[in-house]
């Protein structure tokens, strides 16, 4: 087998996550899908770092994780406060982009 | 590297504008005086430029050149030729009069909140709201840009100025309306913003098309420098495909035709001139529009000589239409300022006609025409402005018998009008006749048609004068004060200039002629020889 397959897998996961973002209305699940996409990216990075034989890819993946963690924290906090204010976690309810 | 005179001439008003805008709200008069002094100082600088310019010398003089955007080879390149120097002088000359004439036009009046198109909480507080400073600052800003555009020899630099000019003009038109407006203030504000937006959109549209052409030019020629491209064209190292050249030419010409304005792209001018305050109207027609005709002469002919010759027939027809059409519509107007606007359209027709006749007389005439038209329109329009501010109405029907109560005003108005109908002895006659002769020698029929324009000119001027100045004194006219010192200081110098240049235009022609000869070489045209000498 060739490590390229990891890339294929990553692509698949990424796509699935993306479609999840589009389909689901529960903010939390949407968030999970975003995480999924991030992980897919990490997988590609790792696979590439193996292919090129240097560790930079892993470093980037590491940073991705850190950023993801921070993002999750903030995101979930937003969801919670949103839920407090409007008793719902649906992204459609929060159609605030249209005033 | 000698002293950058041209840059200084352009920079001075720009700095002055900033300084004026910075004057505290309460010190209105100070701002006015500051603006006036700055404009006068600019006039002095322009005078120095005019004096330093040697007619017989290089084509472009007092040149400056600095790299600006290296990646695209855009350079900050300045240089002035005979045509540029004439218009430069005209601009620097007119601005002080414009400022002086608009002395009170931007004083905040009870309803000025409505009048201002600039949003924001400041309006509600007249103390912080500073229309006067803004007005004069914007005028100076326009001057700076116009001056620079007359001396820019880098196509891209010129384009930027050509566009940037619109911004202050937009605010001047939309922000400071004519107080003598029939109807309510809201109504006035609406019409004014309509006019301003129309002005902006028209010129923007032209400008964007020009931008495409500018980029295209760069792709083809690989440079923005006017002189480089012209040389390359001349020595054949750069040969454009005919179709390319024509497309680029059209791109440039469209923008200039909107600015100039040429029929049928003229409809923004009457609105803009009608709604703006008279000084701003003068600024539009006498100064800013000249950039359009000037650019035709400098860029269209110089960069695309073949295409220019190719397009000549159509353009001449359009110009003729402008002349007759503008004049006829001027006759039909009820609003003094709109009448003058249409008259200007007719005159711009003459200018374009002279440029594209491609004879020495035609082009010299067109150049002189730009200057003279600036002076004559300024005289007529500003005096009309004084009249309008007195009566508070722009409708011709509201006037009558002014000549009896305010003879001096009527006299200056008449002289301005006579200049507009190009009476011999006043400056416009010289240019108009040159244009006519130039056109006639190349296209006799066009020459004859254009001559009709002078009859129509007499018609609309005299009708205007008769309806406003003569006859029994109408109510609201009686007790109208005659011109005051400030107004005389505006009118008399202009009239003196008109007479002087009409009797002795040599100072101007000797500067212009060499430049025109250069242009003639660019388009590789020779004046048609008179029949008799041809026979011999």
């Amino acid at each position: 087998m060739n490590p390229v397959n990891y890339l294929y897998l990553a692509a698949l996961l990424f796509t699935i996550g993306a479609s999840g973002v589009l389909i689901r209305r529960n903010a939390i699940v949407v968030f999970m899908c975003v995480e999924l996409m991030l992980n897919a990216c990490n997988l590609t990075l790792v696979a590439f770092s193996r292919m090129h034989g240097n560790l930079d890819g892993q470093i980037i993946a590491f940073f991705t994780m850190v950023v993801a963690a921070a993002e999750v924290v903030i995101g979930l906090a937003i969801i919670v406060s949103l839920f407090r204010s409007r008793h719902s976690a649906s992204v459609d309810d929060a159609s605030l982009m249209k005033l | 590297m000698s002293f950058p005179l041209l840059t200084a001439t352009a920079a001075l008003p720009a700095i002055g504008a900033i300084a004026t805008a910075a004057v505290p709200a309460a010190r209105r008069t100070a701002a006015k005086w500051l603006a006036l002094t700055v404009s006068l100082a600019t006039l002095v600088l322009a005078g120095i430029v005019f004096a330093r310019f040697e007619p017989g010398g290089e084509r472009y003089q007092l040149t400056e050149s600095h790299a600006w955007i290296k990646d695209f080879g855009v350079r900050y390149e300045l240089g002035v030729d005979g045509i540029g120097v004439a218009l430069l002088a005209l601009t620097a000359l007119l601005i002080p009069f414009v400022i002086l004439a608009g002395w009170h036009d931007a004083d905040p009046s009870p309803s000025s909140q409505l009048r201002s198109s600039r949003g924001g909480p400041n309006e509600t507080n007249p103390y912080h709201w500073r229309p006067t400073q803004g007005f004069f600052a914007l005028i100076l800003m326009v001057e700076a840009m116009v001056v620079l555009s007359f001396v820019a020899t880098d196509v891209f630099l010129f384009y930027i100025l050509f566009e940037a000019m619109l911004i202050p003009m937009y605010f001047l038109i939309g922000g400071f309306g004519d107080r003598a407006h029939a109807g309510s203030d809201e109504n006035a504000a609406a019409q004014r913003s309509y006019a301003a937006v129309k002005f902006l959109l028209y010129n923007l549209a032209g400008g964007l098309i020009m931008l495409a052409a500018v980029i295209g030019l760069y792709v083809v020629a690989g440079s923005f420098s006017l002189s480089e491209i012209a040389e390359a064209r001349a020595d054949g190292s750069l040969d454009m495909a005919t179709s390319t050249e024509r497309w680029l030419f059209l791109g440039f010409f469209f923008a200039f035709a909107v600015k100039a304005p040429l029929w049928p792209l003229h409809t923004w001018l009457p609105n803009a001139m009608g709604e703006a305050t008279t000084p701003v109207a003068v600024l539009i027609t006498a100064v800013v529009d000249k950039v359009g005709t000037f650019a035709m002469l400098r860029f269209c002919l110089q960069l695309f000589p073949e295409a220019s010759k190719w397009a000549t027939p159509v353009i001449i027809v359009l110009a003729l239409i402008s002349i007759v059409y503008g004049a006829l519509l001027a006759v039909g107007q009820r609003d003094i300022k709109r009448l003058i606007a249409y008259a200007s359209i007719s005159h711009f027709g003459f200018i374009v006609l002279g440029i594209f006749a491609m004879t020495s007389q035609g082009q010299s005439g067109a150049t002189l025409y730009m200057v003279n038209h600036g002076l004559s329109t300024a005289a007529l329009m500003l005096v009309a402005g004084f009249l309008i501010t007195r009566r508070g109405s722009r409708l011709i029907a509201d006037y009558g018998g002014v000549q009896k109560v305010a003879p001096v005003l009527a006299g200056t108005f008449l002289i301005g009008g006579l200049a507009t109908l190009s009476l011999p002895g006043l400056a416009p006659f010289v240019s108009e006749f040159l244009v006519l002769v130039g056109v006639f020698s190349a296209y006799p029929v066009a020459g004859v048609v254009a001559t009709v324009g002078i009859v129509l000119a007499a018609l609309y001027v005299l009708v205007l004068y008769q309806r406003t100045m003569t006859g029994p004194v109408r109510e609201g006219i009686g007790g109208m004060p005659d011109l005051k010192v400030r107004e005389l200081a505006v009118a008399l110098p202009l009239i003196a200039l008109l007479i002087f240049l009409g009797v002795f235009p040599k100072p101007l022609t000797e500067v212009v002629n060499p430049a025109v000869q250069h242009t003639m070489q660019d388009v590789q045209k020779k004046d048609p020889q008179p029949e008799v000498e041809a026979a011999k």
Binding site: L12, I16, V66, D93 | -
Partner: protein, 284 residues
């Protein structure tokens, strides 16, 4: 495992291949169920599964440090955070998979499909046949972790510091967002008791379903007069408006019951029914 691999080879060990194909399937299934599961909790769990698999893959790719971090940070911390929030927010109407935006689902499907195909096509097009393992890279500083550390603290030190700042900010932000300002003074024991006495409920609140005919937390207990009492349901459920209305249901049930009994016993109204039977029918 691939630490010993020489440079520029085209295939990996069969073991890894097997592992990939099995776990890959699992990962995909996990991902799909993340998207498709009705309840957020289930999504969270299946996502956790996918992440575990990814962790294994990291390890397989010689990213030992990342593999561990993946398990500890992601699966351990982040997913748990998710679960907490799910509990806090709970299951809401948003959980239903019913689409509300017109055409959204089709667009999503189209985009997803096209995207995936394009992506995979792109990867296929890229010539990535050969690869050289991490052996040398890891070995240079005596191991993967050392290697990473070396890079982080030399080449990427600046970025690293910045991430630190980022995390701090995130923490503060989260606190700000979730912190609720206490507006009124905390009540003392005394005041509470006085309130309690003034209020209509001197005795403790009735438990849900006490007087009802079965015990479900989200069904209001019936008061002696047969009317349901909101008070018997816990506050969270009340806030979420997730109280199942007992009265209407029971009426419906009764109707159904009579009908069926009538069918069965061949007469209009059966005698008194035994409560057990009813109970289970209500439960249905």
């Amino acid at each position: 495992m691939s630490a010993t691999l020489a440079a520029a080879v085209t295939t990996t060990s069969t073991g890894e291949a097997v592992q990939f194909w099995i776990l890959g399937t699992v990962a995909v299934i996990g991902a799909l169920s993340t998207v498709l599961m009705k309840k957020a909790v289930h999504s969270a769990l299946s996502l956790a599964g996918t992440m575990m698999v990814l962790a294994v893959f990291y390890l397989a790719n010689g990213a030992y440090f990342l593999g561990i971090v993946q398990i500890v940070v992601y699966t351990g911390a982040i997913m748990m955070l998710f679960l907490f929030v799910v509990m806090l927010v709970g299951v809401t109407a948003a959980d239903s998979l019913k689409e509300t935006l017109k055409g959204q689902r089709w667009l999503a499907a189209a985009c997803g499909l096209g995207f995936g195909i394009l992506l995979i096509a792109g990867i296929g097009q890229a010539s990535l046949r050969t690869f050289n393992g991490l052996g040398t890279a890891n070995a240079r500083h005596g191991g993967n972790v050392e290697g990473l550390a070396n890079l982080i603290f030399t080449k990427y030190v600046f970025a690293f510091e910045i991430t630190g700042a980022l995390l701090i900010t995130a923490t503060v932000g989260a606190m700000l967002l979730t912190h609720r300002e206490r507006t009124e003074r905390a009540k003392t024991q005394r005041e509470l008791s006085q309130e309690r006495v003034r209020s209509s409920h001197l005795p403790p609140l009735p438990a849900p379903g006490v007087y009802a005919r079965h015990n479900a937390v989200d069904i209001a207990g019936l008061l002696p007069d047969g009317t349901p009492s909101e008070l018997t349901v816990m506050q969270t459920l009340r806030q979420r408006g997730q109280i199942r209305d007992v009265s209407s249901e029971s009426l419906a049930d009764l109707k159904a019951l009579e009908q069926r009994s009538g069918e069965r016993l061949g007469r209009d109204r059966g005698p008194e029914r035994d409560p057990a039977e009813e109970e289970e029918e209500v439960a249905k």
